[in-house]
């Protein structure tokens, strides 16, 4: 392969070309089309025409502010819950798992192997008004006699939390696992308490995992519509549900497109602000 020797400078581009070309054509170009469509006006009956309709964006924000707020609220709560729930377990596997680590990790990723929709439908069965969970919660008076879980915000947030847990737990585990144990031991000698040692050493060292996990959970959660659809009621619908119905039911493509962009823009701003706040400059690895 003398060619590679003579043109070493070319090699990386040759390696990149097929994949990057694919991403450019089927990721960037579609976004361009979406942007174009977001500035159209018209209706399905008479067709859509490009008119620089910036008003679509204003409408998206004005009419659906509630949905946007709710989406980020649900996604935020679910992300925090997922972090709080899975950190101790990731810690446990990383530091106490010993030779069982890989097996224990299997439990974490197990939900991934059951189709997303099927496991959400399973929660529908579990949380049903006449199901065991609701009956127990009623008996111990956490829920009133007519109380329910299904078709409430609680069920939607719980569903999102469950569905994206592995996205949180895995990066947490990876970063915790990489921490040198002797560092922690030294810290425990240095600081008065284990708790302090944890706060000063372990937690900061696991921050890359926390950042990756929260992003991997928050981003898909903010755009989700399955959980609100299957576990919620109309008052719990998120922006994903609106985009979906604009696309699939109303066939109002410009509105759907502009909402998609607003969603993406908010997510990007939040991600950048977050990255700045936690001081992780190498977000893109």
């Amino acid at each position: 392969m003398g060619f590679f020797h003579r043109h070493r400078g070319l090699t990386p581009y040759l390696l990149l070309a097929p994949g990057m070309l694919f991403l450019a054509v089927f990721f960037l170009v579609p976004l361009g089309f979406l942007a174009y469509q977001s500035l159209e006006t018209g209706s399905i009956d008479f067709g859509y025409h490009f008119t620089w309709a910036w008003g679509n964006y204003w409408d998206a924000i004005r009419h659906y502010r509630g949905h946007f707020v709710r989406s980020f609220e649900y996604a935020g709560i679910a992300t925090v819950l997922a972090l709080v729930f899975s950190y101790p377990v990731a810690y446990w596997i990383a530091f106490r798992g010993g030779r069982w680590k890989n097996l224990l990790l299997l439990f974490i990723v197990a939900p991934f192997f059951v189709t997303y929709l099927i496991r959400t439908l399973a929660w529908q069965t579990i949380l049903s008004d006449n199901g065991l969970v609701v009956r127990i919660l009623r008996d111990i008076h956490v829920l009133g006699s007519g109380g329910r879980l299904l078709a409430t915000a609680t069920a939607v947030v719980a569903g999102i939390t469950y569905n994206f847990l592995p996205f949180m737990a895995l990066p947490l585990y990876v970063s915790l696992e990489q921490i040198d144990h002797s560092l922690i031991e030294a810290a425990e000698d240095l600081y008065a308490s284990k708790w302090k040692a944890f706060l000063r050493v372990t937690l900061p060292l696991s921050m890359p995992g926390v950042v990756a996990g929260t992003l991997l959970t928050f981003i898909p959660a903010a755009g989700d519509f399955i959980n609100a659809q299957l576990l919620g009621s109309p008052t719990n619908h998120m922006i994903g549900n609106v985009i979906e119905s604009k696309y699939k039911e109303l066939l109002d493509y410009p509105a759907a497109a502009s909402m998609s962009f607003v969603l993406m823009a908010i997510i990007l701003v939040l991600v950048l602000a977050y990255a700045r706040a936690v001081g992780t400059e190498k977000l893109t690895g």
Binding site: E40, G47, Y48, H49, P234, T235, N236, E249
Partner: protein
Amino acid sequence: MTDQLTRRQLLERAALGGAAITVPGLLAACGGTSTKAGGGGTTVAHKLAKTLHFSNWTLYIDNKPGNRHPSLDQFQKKYGVHVAYNEDINDNASFFSKIQPALSSGQSTGRDIIVMTDNSRYPSLLVKKGWVEKLDKSAIPNIKNLVPQQRHPNWDPNRDYSLPWQSGFTGIGWNQKLTEPITTMGDLLGSKKLKGKVGLLSEFADTLALVMAYNGDDPSKVTDKTFNKAIDTIQKAVHSGQIRAFYGNDYSGPFAKGDLLATMSWSGDIVQLQADNPNLKWQLPDTGGDIWTDNMLIPKGGDVYTASVYMNFVYDPKIAAEIEDYVNYVCPVVGAKQALLKLDPGIAKNPLIFPTKQMLDNVHVIDPTALNNQKYQTTWQNLISA
């Protein structure tokens, strides 16, 4: 798929003014010519295809264990055409969005017959867009058996493009084990005992018709005032937490399960749901229900002759009666009642299939212009996704 469609599309876009022609739009219109050159217009071949692709709603044809459909077997025996029967329609909107990409780009949908409801905007949209084929009426002599009330719908005045499959009523279903009978919209939308356990239908026309009738307005003449009043009524119920969700066909699960105590629902479904839960009851509300018709249509690119022959086949009163024996909806075929009396007298007397005059007096038909009003549609969609 054919040149004609392409030309029509191009003209349509051109008619909207040169400036308005979008680049993608032009691409769309021009691209059409590249498919299947020599498709050449819509001349009908009088030759039967080997297979008829039929898309229908679930539980909407005669059915025997092992997923046999005796009427389709008879059709195959008689004409040698195998029917690929697909129950892939769950609601009008999502089915339309499934076939729309193919239709708008001039490709075949892979289907010869589809079934869509007239109280949605889609049948008229399909006709208006030129996305359905004309029936070959010479192959459908049995069209004479179509009940007179159904002969001139405003969106297809001469039945050039469509024939009814079944009709049905929208009313109120309730679970008699968990609640007393719910027969008024007032109770459904307001009774404290039902809080959070009530379902409404996401089909615009169904819910609107029943609520407008309850408000004392006429659903067959929708005005901004009566429309807004109905929306207010529904909104109040949603905000008070009375309404659990807006459903398509999917109310059946929570209803049979007991998560819904009462729900707006379709007449024929209840008979089938009683197999799961015998406590389910159904009635038209005192202020009146809603009647609708599902229509067979031939999407562009479908085999017109074979589809027409099939339509003729199911308009034979004997075949219609056999199908009716299973589906429990309102039959559009004259003479089917007599045939069914011989086959299954119990069912033939069911007013849900052959409705009484009293029932027909108590149902409304929604104003078709409201269905195509984009403003109404948007308001509605915003309401049901709160």
